[in-house]
């Protein structure tokens, strides 16, 4: 019986992974289209990312040894693992473990794995890119952490599933209404997490030859693309669950995610790239201030647990 259950979960997990990947790729494609329209171009078909991924997985590539291979696999496997704990609409594969911090740290494992892979290639450009990505992470994770903690105090729970159910019953119950400052800080942090302008220092193509991806080709780049797409789904999904009240079904969930991504794309289209230390210290100013202000408000409202 355990085995049957395991197999059912396995196939469901497979389905979720495929769905998230497809959504992420679709978002990427639509994003490119929107960007093109903003620049008054026709733009690629919105299925372009699928074709790119297919081509990458069928193209030859070079490997710099087993650490390189292991790193690239470790770059997207934990991402998929994190996905299994995310409440997607009404459905969560493993609801009893859907702890938010768990998901966040699993995503970090994916970044760590990716970092190991690209650094094992031995290219200084990827090292520069990685050092920039890490410095940026010190920036955006701090306000995001403040927001996460204020949500924890507000909802008195760490399970995403419960955070979602607490917001049931209409727009006025959503956390975005109850914690607007926190949402604002998260939205800015999301820009950094997704690495869109003005926070795309890590993969500056003209400057450091696309940074971490410099030695990746073929399937390795394909894995990077999978990681990015799933990460896109995961990060926007977390924000939807945290602030936009989850969703009654999958389509509304995707629609809400898309709204978030749309904002990110619009900001991306109009802003130039910051220098890395400006970007990091930017996150320590306004977003961190907003996040902490939100937390203080929650605490004053009586969020402290009595221990």
């Amino acid at each position: 019986m355990v085995i049957v259950e395991f197999l059912i979960k396995l196939s469901q997990g497979f389905g979720i992974g495929a769905l998230a990947l497809a959504t992420g790729l679709l978002f990427g494609g639509i994003g490119r289209k929107i960007m093109a329209r903003i620049q008054r171009r026709y733009g690629p078909p919105f299925t372009q990312n699928f074709m790119d991924l297919f081509k990458l997985l069928s193209k030859g590539s070079v490997s710099h040894g087993w650490a390189f291979d292991l790193g690239l696999v470790a770059g997207f496997a934990p991402m998929l693992a994190a996905l299994m704990f995310l409440p997607i609409g009404p459905f969560t594969l493993l609801p009893s473990d859907s702890s938010l911090i768990m998901i966040v740290y699993l995503m970090m494992m994916a970044y760590l794995g990716m970092a190991m892979g690209v650094l094992a290639s031995g290219n200084p450009n990827s090292a520069i890119g990685m050092s920039r990505a890490l410095m940026l992470m010190v920036g955006y994770e701090v306000p995001f952490a403040a927001v996460i903690f204020s949500v924890y105090l507000f909802s008195k729970t760490g399970y995403l599933t419960q955070i979602v159910t607490q917001q049931a019953g209409g727009f006025m119950n959503w956390n975005i209404v109850k914690m607007p400052l926190g949402f604002l800080a998260t939205e800015i942090a999301l820009q950094g997490m997704l690495g869109e302008k003005p926070f795309d220092q890590a993969i500056a193509p003209a400057e450091i030859a696309s940074g971490p991806m410099v030695e990746l080709g073929g399937k390795y780049l394909g894995f990077g693309m999978i990681q990015h797409s799933v990460g896109l789904f995961l990060e926007t999904g977390i924000v939807v669950d945290l602030f936009l009240g989850g969703a009654p079904n999958f389509w509304i969930f995707i629609a809400k995610q898309f709204v978030l991504y749309f904002i990110v794309i619009l900001v991306d289209a109009i802003l130039p790239r910051l220098r890395i230390h400006e970007a990091t210290s930017f996150f320590w100013k306004l977003p961190l201030f907003l996040g902490i202000l939100q937390a203080v408000i929650v605490i004053i409202q009586g969020g402290v647990l009595n221990v």
Partner: protein
């Protein structure tokens, strides 16, 4: 023989044997290892509540001394001795200049510290521990520097010890006894009447503990000493010896969190202050760590940053805070041990501690590389390895109190730990392999066994944290607090969520299998050497491009340094350095008087004893 006594006597006998047979290095190392193992075997003989007392006729006074096993002490004993076994086993194959008999003396001292019921024994063991570790540091590779490091450490230690000594005298003067338990209960009693008195005395003790654990602002000795200590000893120094301070704090913390003390944000204010010391330590450690180029110094700072986490957690003195702190103490021992053991393995192979001169070692030492990787993953708090649970519990403990600023600071420290860990990871193991290291080999069979063991332990305690949390719960219970609920070995329970580590482990494994399957199915790849790399079209040979030149690891976070420079100027240049310099100045002055001889500390220790005796006359 009483097994409590055996815990003290066996190491001393082993130490004597090791000292006699010092010339035969292998025999000496074997004795060290065996003594640790035998001491460990005696641990199975003892159980909580065992007690042994004897009376000492001291200057006409009848002093009661004793040894006792509490849940806390047995936890500490298991932790430290087990780690010692691993380390001495690893050292069997190492040619480091570590002196086995000193390590065994330290072991005896540490066992005594953890079991002592009276302040005299505690202080004596504390001194013995400090003394033997200082002598050990003298044996570092670079003589001049290691002497400097040891002196620095000695100065700080002496300061701490005297502070503790004064505390002991004040206390015994008040109560007329040296028993730790009755002193603590007496202090609890008079806390309401004379809070300042009590806090004054307790802070005298805390200074000693802070020095030993390297808590801000007494951390200045940490990088100096760790950087210069013999390679084989550094893991012990950072994993085990930093925990003595934690033990000391735990003796006195129940006091300061009494109900009579005015509170800040629902927290007794001495605890609040300690918590801030801890948080600042965590942040300062992380920030200073990612600016280092010397790998031992980097992990020295990392170690004291983690001690900051532990202190911040136990300062809360709530069930979850205490559990988190102890759990992190255990995890820190484990991952820091794994990191330091792999690091010294690499250092012994490449012969330098400067990270910018290493690189690409993963091709030569794959197992060491994997152990290090899992070690830093655990240190970064990544599930499903050991380290995730404790960090997560620390955050929960902090935030449930509504301490948002401290929590954000700690989270910042935790993210910054990614920075220094990745820097070390990249600079040592990844990137381009220099031709200098073409002949570097993987560690010996003994080293491999140690590494596999550590690797297994990191995963085992990561997915089955209950094996650590159960004893910790009984510690929490022994402090009169209600332990966290338990629901099986695989669960980490907190306020906000309980996490089933096994299910996470399975999910991660399944996704990894899927990842490798996908990797195998799609188009083939071609293996290329590291020279075949993107160079913007330039041909490396034409430009005489060497692997060293194509490795970017020096000044890895230069933009960050720029951003943090204003803070560092104020804090480090102004205060830390000033403080450090003044201490160094005193050290230099004393060094001149005593011509930098090893004996100074001995003299000073003897001097301390003399003061002790005289004070005893005066008091009684």
């Amino acid at each position: 023989m009483n097994s409590l006594l055996a815990l003290l006597i066996v190491p001393v006998i082993g130490s004597a044997a090791a000292a006699v047979l010092q010339r035969y290095r292998l025999v000496e190392r074997l004795i060290t290892f065996l003594t640790f193992s035998v001491t460990f075997l005696f641990l199975f003989e003892i159980k909580i509540g065992d007690i042994l007392t004897w009376h000492l006729d001291f200057l006409g006074k009848n002093l009661e001394m004793g040894l006792q096993i509490t849940p806390l002490s047995i936890f500490m004993l298991y932790m430290t001795i087990a780690f010692g076994i691993v380390l001495t086993f690893y050292n069997l194959s190492e040619r480091s200049k570590m002196k086995g008999f000193l390590l065994l003396l330290t072991l005896a001292a540490s066992n005594w510290i953890f079991m002592s019921t009276d302040l005299i024994g505690f202080f004596f063991a504390w001194e013995l521990m400090g003394w033997s570790s200082i002598l050990m540091i003298f044996g570092g590779k670079r003589e001049e520097e290691s002497r400097h490091g040891a002196l620095y450490y000695a100065m700080m230690s002496i300061g701490g010890s005297y502070s503790m000594l004064i505390g002991i005298f004040l206390l015994s003067n008040l109560t007329g006894t040296f028993s730790i338990q009755s002193n603590v209960s007496y202090l609890t009693l008079i806390l309401g009447l004379h809070p300042w008195w009590v806090l004054g005395i307790v802070s005298l003790f805390f200074v000693a503990f802070m020095v030993k654990s390297g808590i801000f602002p007494f951390h200045t000795w940490v990088p100096h000493t760790y950087g210069e200590a013999p390679d084989g000893f550094v893991p012990y120094l950072s994993s085990v010896m930093s925990k003595y301070g934690v033990y000391g704090f735990l003796i006195f913390l129940p006091l300061t969190s009494g109900a009579h003390v005015p509170s800040v944000l629902g927290l007794a204010w001495p605890n609040y202050v300690l918590l801030w010391f801890g948080s600042v330590t965590a942040v300062a450690g992380s920030v200073l760590a990612f600016m280092q180029d010397d790998v031992k110094k980097l992990f020295a700072y990392s170690s004291f940053s983690n001690l900051g986490f532990i202190l911040a957690a136990i300062a809360l003195f709530t069930p979850i805070g205490l559990t988190a702190g102890m759990f992190h103490a255990f995890n820190h021992l484990l991952f820091n041990g794994a990191i330091f053991i792999t690091v010294i393995a690499v250092i012994s192979k490449v012969g330098t501690t400067r990270m910018s001169e290493m690189g690409g070692i993963w091709q030569k030492m794959p197992l060491t590389f994997l152990t290090f990787f899992v070690g830093i993953a655990a240190a970064a708090g990544i599930p499903p390895f050991a380290g995730f649970g404790s960090k997560w519990m620390i955050f929960q403990a902090m935030i449930s109190h509504g301490l948002i600023f401290a929590t954000v600071l700690l989270f910042f420290a935790s993210i910054a730990s990614f920075l220094y860990l990745m820097r070390a990871f990249h600079a040592i193991f990844l990137g381009q392999l220099s031709h200098k290291y073409d002949n570097v080999k993987e560690v010996s069979a003994i080293g491999k066994i140690t590494e596999v063991f550590l690797l297994g332990a990191l995963i085992f305690f990561g997915i089955l944290p209950g094996f650590v949390l159960d004893p910790i719960n009984s510690i929490v219970n022994s402090f009169g607090l209600k332990p966290l609920p338990t629901s099986g070995y695989e669960y980490i329970n907190g306020f906000f969520s309980s996490i089933n580590m096994v299910s996470i482990f399975i999910v991660v494994i399944v996704t990894f299998i899927f990842g490798f399957a996908l990797f195998a199915v799609v188009a083939k790849h071609k293996k290329v050497p590291q020279e075949d790399n993107y160079t913007a079209g330039q041909i490396p040979q034409d430009w005489n491009l060497t692997p060293e030149m194509y490795q970017f690891s020096y000044d890895f976070y230069e933009p960050m340094d720029k951003e943090l420079a204003p803070f560092l100027k104020v804090k480090i240049d102004g205060f830390f350095k000033g403080f450090g310099e003044s201490v160094e100045y005193i050290g230099e002055a004393i060094k001149e008087i005593f011509t930098g001889n090893v004996q100074i500390y001995t003299y000073l220790a003897v001097g301390g004893l003399v003061i002790f005796v005289i004070a005893g006359w005066v008091v009684w």
